[in-house]
Every structure is written in C-alpha cells, then in structure tokens.
Amino acid sequence: MTLSLVLQALFAGVTNGIVYALVGMGLSAIFKGSRVINAMQGEFAVIGAMTTVLLLTKAGWPYAAAIAGGAIAGALVGAFIEVAFVRFMAKKNASEDSFLLLTIGLALSLSASILYFVGRDGHLLPPLGGEGVLIVMDAVIQFHALWLIAIGIGATLALRAFYHRTTIGLSMMAASIDADGAATTGINVARMRTFTFVLGGLLGALGGILVTPLIAVDYQLGLNLTLKGFAAAVLGGLTNPLGAAVGGITLGLVESLAIIGISSSYKDVVAFSVLIVIMILMPQGILGRAGRRGG
C-alpha cells in the first residue's frame, strides 16, 4: 500500500462523505423538526439535480441561476410534501410508521415520475472550477471535488449558525424539543414543521446538485443516496443535523479505507462492522447526546 493510494482513498472518502453528509443532514433536520424519518431524502437530491440540468440545458439559464433554481425546487417540493401530506396526517395523529410509509411511497412515486417525464438517461452538470485536477503525490482530486468539500463544510457551518443564531432556527429547535411549550410562547409549531421540510429539501437538493458533475444523476439514484444519508444521520445521531456531517465523513472514510486496507470484496462488510461497533459504543450516535441537549 503506497502513500499515494492512501491519499487517493482519503480524497475519495471525504468527497463521498460530504455527499452522504448533505443528504444525512437534511434527513436529520426533518427528523429533528417533525419526527418523520424521511425515506425520500435522496429524491430531493435527484429533484434538485434534475431541475438544474433541465434549467441549464433545456431552458438555457446561466449555471448559477440554474443551481439556485434546482435548490429552490428541492425546497418547494419539501414544503409541498409537508403541507399536502404530513400536516394532514399529523392532524389525524398518524404514527411514526405511517409517516415512514408515506415517505417510502413518495420516494417510489417521485422516482417513477422522473422516469416518466425526464427519461432513463443519466445527466451530468459541468464541474465547478472546470475539468482541472489537483495532483498530490500521484493522487488526483478534481477541482470540483474541492468545491464540493468547501461548500459542504460551509453549509454545515451555516446550518449550525442558523439553529443557534436566528429566530427561526431557535424557534424550529424549540418546536422540535417541546411542541406544546413552544406553542405557549407563541411559536407557530405547524409552520416550523413546514420550514423543517423546506430546510431538508434544500439540503438534499444541494447535495444532489453538487454530486452531479461527479456522477450522472438518473431517476434511480435517490434510493442509494437515501441509504447512505440515513446511515450517516444515524451514525452521527439522528436528532442532531450536525452529527450527520460527522457521520457522513466517517462513513465515507471507513468505506474507502476498507477498500485499500482489506479488499473491495469486503468493503461493505468492513464498513458496516465498524458502524455496528460505533453504534454499540455510542448508541445515541457520535453527536447524539448533543442533539438531545438541543444541538
């Protein structure tokens, strides 16, 4: 095993980890704010990426505007799902399992609609920073991957600031910790739950847009992203969106180091064994306790 190979594995691990983190953070933000396990978090990524692709190639928008359009599309779909389904079901005291079933159903329907309207083909977006690469000791990383890492870290810090510094963020946190208590202080709990879905949709879409210059997005990418994002979120502590960032990067690194350390045939066995050990030692997730205290 050469140093260059280790470095290449680290590059790949962090890049993938940030993608898992963005999906996981959205999933965890929604869980924190609504107790809904969102099995369609990966579809937000597909919606964001596909909208950006269509705005860029079909509508001819400038790239930056298309990216903003894609992110807004993710946020709007998030809001729509809360208003059209979750709110309605919450009024009837739907259980957590019913919500899970709802989001699984939505994931399948959205994936099918994308197949119907956009087709089977995979689509790519132009890389940020062009096709250039950085070569460190024979290990290669795309400029785009560096952008992805930078934006991912930026989004994580922004999310933290949002929860701790802004009135809406604090209100969302209050509504999630104690809905009745928050309501008595004048917080509109239902609206906060809508915001939670907007935030989840936005983060998912951002992850999807950022990954599309690296891997082609198609109608069936969502489920894969949801599974990785879910593992990231649980690993980091489902109730703490910032934990998902830590969880995502841990998962990405464990996966890629398992390939060079042992064998690609046993990648998942090794990666998930490590995750099991982490979950046994830290059943609340890596940052789960912090989440219980309010993040």
């Binding site: 050469t2 260059s4 190979l5 290449q8 594995a9 590059f11 790949a12 691990g13 890049t15 993938n16 993608v19 119907y116 309207f117 956009v118 087709g119 089977r120 083909d121 995979g122 689509h123 790519l124 096709e131 690469v133 070569i135 290990a139 290669v140 795309q142 990954v211 690296l214 891997i215 082609a216 198609d218 069936q220 990418l221 894969n224 992203l225 990785k228 996966e255 890629s256 390939i259 060079i260 690609s264 045939s265 990648k267 998942d268």
Partner: protein
C-alpha cells in the same frame, strides 16, 4: 424518453414501416400464427426490454411484409414481466396455455429465462431467450435457444482484444452482479491467454463512486484495464484519476444510456460487441437502415438480438410448417442461422453457437461509437 413520447414514436414507427419501409408488400391472409414474447419493459431490466420490444415489433412487420409464414401472417404478443421472474412465469403460462402461442421469445433477464424455461421445456414449446446461457440447468433444456453469447464468450472477447494489443498485465474493475458472473469465467481463461490479473476490484451494483477501487487498479500498474459493469460510474472514475492505459469494457456497458452518462469519459474505450449502428457490417446495413427509419434512433445489440429471434422462429415455422408441433419446431430450429447480431448454430451444445469471430470491437471516441478494424481470426 417519456412514455407518451415513446408511444408517439412507436405510432410513427408503425405508420412508417407500414407505408414506406418495405419496397415489396406481399399479401398475407388467413389466421395469424401467434408467437408470445416476454420482455422487461419496466423495472431494472427496462434498458434491455425496451430495445428488444422495438426489435420484435419491427421484425413482425418485416416478416409479414415479406409474406409471413407461407402466406399466413404472424402476430407477436408482447408482454412485460416488470423484470420479475414470478411475473415472467405467469405471463408465460398465460401465453402458452391461454393464448396458445406456437413459440415464446424472451425473456430479457437470466432469472426470468430460467423460470420460463421450466415451462417451455416441460411442454416442448420452442423458446428463444434474449440472454446468454446461464445456470447449469439450462444445458439440459434443448428447446431453449439463446441469441446472446454465454458469459464465457464475452470474457474470451475481452482477452482476445488484450492479446491483440499485447497487454499481459490486466487490472479489472467489476460490479457485484453481472461483473461477478463474467469474472468467474474470466479467471480460468486468463491463464490460457498468459494474462496476469494484477488487480481485481469489485464494487456494488449501483455504486455511486468507485474511485478508490480504480486507484487500487492504477497502483497495480496494469497494461490495460477491463471494466465489467452495467453503469457509467467506473468509467468516469477511471478517467477522473487519470488512468491512461487502454480501457476494454464488457458488452454490458455498450448501451447509449451508459455511454451518455459517461460524459467526457466516453473516450478511448473499446467494447467487444456486435452491432455498431454508426458503421454497421455489410450484412447488418439493411436492418440498421430499417430501424433508423422506423424509430429515428440507432439500434444496438439488443434490438438486433430480438429481431434475429423473431426471424429464427419464422424460419423454423417456414421449414416445419405453420401447424407443426413444438417438438418439430425445436428440431427445425436446431440449425445454423446467419443473423444480424451473429452467426448462430443452434445445434451447438450451448444452444447458441455464436463463434468468437462474430464479435466486432467498437471504440468510443469523444462519446461516439466507431468500429475498429480488429476482428478475431478463426
């Protein structure tokens, strides 16, 4: 492509084929001879089943335009198994016992083929599957022909190309499904070709990143890289980490769908396959032209395989007679057949008989298929 635009294209195709594609229209009359077909139009196998359905419908028009079976038209009843072997089995039962079809074409996927073969074999109904021969049980089913090569042949084709560029140290990137099956055949063959597999790296089906596996292959310093997968991801990763050695891809990645998703990575990749629609072999030209007129797109291997299957069964019906029993049809089918995809010989032990010489080797250049002059000598 959306369903509505697909239907529109199909309608257009039907009209075109009916009006102009065939110069000479022969008259057919009498009761249609029913042939069943099962393809995966939806689900994971749709990338195979949709082109296969196109090939079948075009073949039906072609056969009927040329006089059908001794003047009687054929009717291909196409069913979708949704990529599910259980569904394939129940559709097969319905086609055979309900609709009383003379023969069965398809299915698209190996698991479905094995399931359906149980019924066709037991009831002596001729079947022509759009898969390469799979598990051992298929060896005993002497009335189930296959129009795609067995995986051993695909593995041989990869090694033949490696031999032609004098690459003896090979790195392999393969997925855990299709890739595993081809790998199992490739390993023992590599020794015979004097090829050393210096790195064999696996990734899960649907993996979104295989960079680290590709880096391990790169670190082993191979002279060429084999990619055996049904996705664009490993191709992108190989180029991203700047592997500059020749890349040879198994036929599974040969569809436009994957090549489009490769983006700029679809360059300098060689694929042993059969139909390069952009530059067809002389005997493939007529089919390619007809297909382009009908569907306004360029056909590849699966369209041609389905087209061949329909014509093979038509040839057997012409030989044995339209009312021949299944057993007689099976016997009539067991003969050499020069198809668009390949030169088959269904009397061969593998019920396929495709020679390695039928492979053509395409090369992706700037995202476009070109045909290389290389062919394997007999």
């Amino acid at each position: 492509m959306s369903l509505s635009s697909f239907i529109a294209k199909l309608a257009g195709a039907t009209a075109l084929v009916g009006l102009s594609a065939f110069g000479v229209q022969a008259q057919t009359s009498g009761e249609a001879i029913k042939i069943g077909a099962i393809v995966s139009v939806t689900g994971a196998g749709a990338g195979l089943g949709v082109p296969e359905r196109n090939g079948l419908l075009l073949a039906e028009k072609d056969i009927n335009a040329k006089g059908g079976i001794k003047g009687r038209p054929i009717k291909i009843i196409v069913e979708d198994d949704a990529s599910n072997p259980d569904t394939a089995l129940s559709k097969a039962n319905d086609l055979i016992f309900g609709q009383k079809v003379q023969a069965l074409l398809g299915p698209s996927l190996t698991a479905s083929t094995v399931a359906v073969g149980g019924v066709t074999h037991a009831n002596k109904i001729p079947q022509i599957a759009f898969t390469g021969i799979g598990p051992a049980v298929e060896r005993d089913r002497k009335c189930v022909a296959h129009v795609l090569p067995p995986q051993r042949l695909n593995a041989t084709a990869l090694l033949e190309y490696a031999k032609s560029i004098k690459a003896t140290k090979i790195g392999v990137l393969h997925d855990a499904g299709y890739g595993n099956v081809v790998m199992a055949e490739l390993k023992p063959l590599a020794d015979k070709y004097g090829v050393k597999l210096v790195a064999v790296e696996k990734f899960e089906i649907g993996a979104t990143d295989t960079t680290t596996q590709a880096a391990k292959v790169k670190a082993a310093q191979p002279e060429a890289v084999f990619i055996i997968a049904t996705s664009a991801t490993p191709f992108r990763n190989v180029k991203q980490i700047q592997i500059t050695q020749p890349v040879i891809a198994a036929i599974g990645s040969s569809s436009y769908e994957y090549v489009n998703a490769m983006g700029p990575a679809a360059d300098n990749i060689v694929i042993p396959e059969f139909v390069v629609g952009e530059d067809p072999l002389p005997h493939q030209k007529a089919f390619v032209e007809l297909y382009k007129q009908a569907y306004n797109s360029t056909p590849k291997n699966y369209e041609a395989a389905a087209w061949d299957a329909a014509h093979i069964i038509a040839a057997a019906l012409n030989k044995a007679g339209a009312d021949a029993t299944g057993e007689k049809l099976c016997e009539a089918m067991k003969a050499p057949y020069a198809g668009v995809l390949a030169n088959y010989d269904f009397s061969a032990d593998d019920m396929t008989g495709i020679p390695i010489t039928s492979f053509v080797f395409s090369k992706l250049v700037g995202g476009k298929y070109t045909r290389t002059p290389f062919r394997v000598a007999q």
